[in-house]
Amino acid sequence: MSKLLEIEQFSLHFPGRGALLSDVSLHVDDGEAVALVGESGSGKSLTTRAALGLFPEFSRLSGSVKVRGLDTTSAPAAKLLELRRNHASMIFQDPRAGINPVRTVGDFLTETLVRWRGLSREEAYARAVTQLDQVGLRRTKDLMRQYPHQLSGGMLQRVMIAGALLDSPELLLCDEPTTALDVTTQAGIVELLREQQQARGMGMLFITHDLNLAASLCDRVYVLRKGEVVEHGGAREVFMSPHADYTRQLVGATPRIEIDKVPAAPAADGTVPLLAVKRLCKRYELPSGEELTALNDATFSLAPGGSLGVVGESGSGKSTLARMIVALETADEGELAINGRVRAPRPLRAAERKLLAKDVQIVFQDPYLSLDPRIVVGKAVADVFRLHQGQGRAEAVKSAEKLLERVGIGPERFDSKPRALSGGQRQRVAIAKALAARPKLLVLDEATSALDVSVQAQVLELVEELREQLGLTLLFVTHDLAVVSRLCAELLVLQHGEIVEQGSTAKILSAPANAYTRMLIDSRPRALWEEQLA
């Protein structure tokens, strides 16, 4: 039998533009799990889609992409249909975008069975229900009638997997299937994929930006950078002794929990805490009329010069907490004091807001939306200097340029609009804008989670430096325990709006007292070889 998937010297480009993929070669054998690792823009999604004969419109191809000997770059439509139906299936990144929102789960699962497997509706229904059971979903008969918006992301991804497995493929292509999900949900999905892959003896090509995840699932790894394979080999070798510079850099930048590197908390000297939160509550009314408790009874404090990591999954209330601290939300109950001044329990007046701005600033997650698209970065930062430091136009521009250089934005960028900057550069500008108000406390709301790992590492390094030089107090909101372990002396774990554990980061990470915290730590992907040791 010919090889399951064999890509040879495959290149793809658009007329008049540089290559998106150049000379990519890789193969996947039967029953083998292979990872394709790369950052955004590396071309990893293009490569996988090529295996199904899904090419972007107007693209030019060369080389070959063979599945069971069928070259998808030249195969006729009928052959491609046959390939998609009987040999290969794909699981996409975002199940919410990938499953038609106006059709039921049952419709999604049965349509291929009815359309071309020739099953009757009853047979198809029975097969689909069995498959849903198999991917670990409960109340499957009810599920069949439900619409995607009624399911959680994790459940939907299981539905997507069920849909892919229904066609009993020999090759399973996974395009970042867990990136849109929480850590604990991700762990379940990875477990399911591994189980099914081994039980069915499928070949699997797993795309991810996360080296840890790749190591936890795959025996072999290809590292892709700007459309070129820069390294491939056994997962362990690539991870432990990378050859290519890029891989080495990637391995170095990949965050991991290192308890011995957790920063120390400032010595307790009995001063007034910079941030003191007592029994804080926030509730929202949902469009359906239900009430959602986003944050319940939160009590903690943060000393000047300290660093606190707030960790939780989506819906844990961590962003609500961050937004309340900077007064973008008003608490329903409880007390919030910054620098000993208790916040009034109402939306702030303009003057109060300006005063608060000198105490606390925030950097948001999305680098593409957190800067005003129309304002050049030099002016954006200068505006803050004029407002807060009372500087004149010329002086403010000078201060802004100095600060921008400090955060790593060169003079050639001062007159650029945000669109001309990369994601990492935009976050640097956002940090500069926040610092221009000279705050004591800097809140980072998932400020690095939208960035590529290598960029994230650089921005984290910048934050670390700034903290030391400026004596900043940090409150870092994130879903990633590893990021916290590097930056924060203290840790606070949130689940469903409730603080389940708080204390010193090193202590919690080495000996978590709470079951949920333990689960968060255990859900982090572990390399296959580590697991075999354990």
Partner: protein, 339 residues
């Protein structure tokens, strides 16, 4: 702070009473119908009290352009109840409408409802025929353009842009000049007899009336489908080995229906309003022409009636569209998506 010590509220986001989809649909429907009634009420206020905008003797206003003989003034005062307070006049007017009595026409010297009933069929037939043209031609052009990138798409887009800029009255003149005067294929005037003759007489007017809307429909269909074509769920469907036709019908067109439907609601109003111009041009005796003539002849009771009817039709059409939307997209009923 003592309050919170009594009992810790539930930690989980309280799910509360989960409403079943069916109930939320009914609630949604009731709310839409309620909005419809409120809108109609306020619209009737606007229509009725619009004539109070002008200061002066209301009787003389209603008799503009006619000889204000004392008898006539007395008669009009009695007929419209002008000696009563405005609120009472309004209540009488609305009460009459609810009983099918729209008042009396000054020009025709008969009840407005009789005049309207005589003329309504032509307008409805004209609008219906135009609607058929719009649905068939507009949808077809939009789908064709969306599925055939390149030559066809460009050709249709250019045609549609040009056609969309031809106002109904210009289209009416152009079609008359070409098909009626030069070629003599269609009549240029009148509404003809019942049946096929009527259809023959209405073809040119319906085309003139529908032209901009055909273009509009094609444009919306095209862009709505194009938007769906880039969605990931369409790619997923393709990756699962569905045939192109299945993908297009079950996933692209199906999901593109929402905006198309929304536009249809607006189109219905547009058709009724623009029919005034087309009917006037082609000499069709519908309510559109009646509206123009009544404005010309200062027959205000008829104007009020027609405006109210068109507004009602418009609001009703939009409400029906709003009620169909949640059936097309279940997320709307859940309140997570709005259109």
């Amino acid at each position: 702070m003592a309050v919170t010590e009594l009992a810790a509220p539930p930690a989980r986001p309280t799910p509360g009473r989960k409403k079943s989809p069916a109930t939320s649909l009914i609630v949604l429907a009731l709310r839409k119908v309620g909005t419809l009634l409120i809108t109609l009420f306020f619209a009737s206020l606007v229509v009725f009290f619009s004539r109070f905008v002008l200061p002066g003797d209301p009787a003389r206003f209603l008799l503009r352009g006619r000889s204000p003989k004392p008898e006539a003034l007395v008669e009009i005062t009695k007929q419209f109840g002008l000696d009563k307070p405005p609120i009472e006049q309004y209540l009488t007017w609305v009460g009459g409408i609810l009983h099918g009595d729209w008042g009396r026409s000054l020009t025709y010297r008969q009840s407005v409802s009789d005049v309207l009933l005589n003329r309504l069929p032509v307008t409805l037939e004209l609008a219906a025929l135009a609607a058929v043209f719009i649905t068939v031609l507009g949808l077809a052009a939009g789908i064709l353009a969306s599925l055939n990138k390149g030559g066809w798409d460009r050709f249709i887009l250019i045609t549609v842009t040009a056609a969309g800029a031809i106002p109904p009255f210009v289209a009416a003149i152009a079609l008359t000049a070409l098909f009626a005067v030069q070629l003599g294929w269609f009549p240029s005037f009148g509404s003809g007899d019942e049946g096929l003759g009527r259809l023959w007489h209405l073809t040119l007017p319906a085309l003139a009336l529908g032209l901009t809307f055909i273009a509009f429909m094609a444009r919306v269909t095209r862009s709505s489908m194009n938007e769906q074509l880039t969605r990931e769920h369409v790619e997923v469907a393709t990756s699962r080995g569905l045939k192109r036709s299945s993908v297009v019908f079950r996933h692209v067109l199906r999901n593109a229906l929402g905006p198309i439907l929304t536009v249809s609601g607006v189109l219905i109003a547009g058709l009724l309003v623009s029919s005034a111009i087309v009917e006037q041009t082609f000499g069709l005796t519908g309510i559109g022409q009646l509206l123009v003539q009544s404005i010309d002849r200062l027959d205000f009771a008829v104007v009020q009636a027609i405006v109210m009817i068109v507004v009602t039709a418009f609001v009703l059409a939009n409400t029906i569209v709003d009620l169909i939307q949640p059936l097309i997209d279940p997320r709307i009923a859940a309140g997570t998506e709005s259109r």
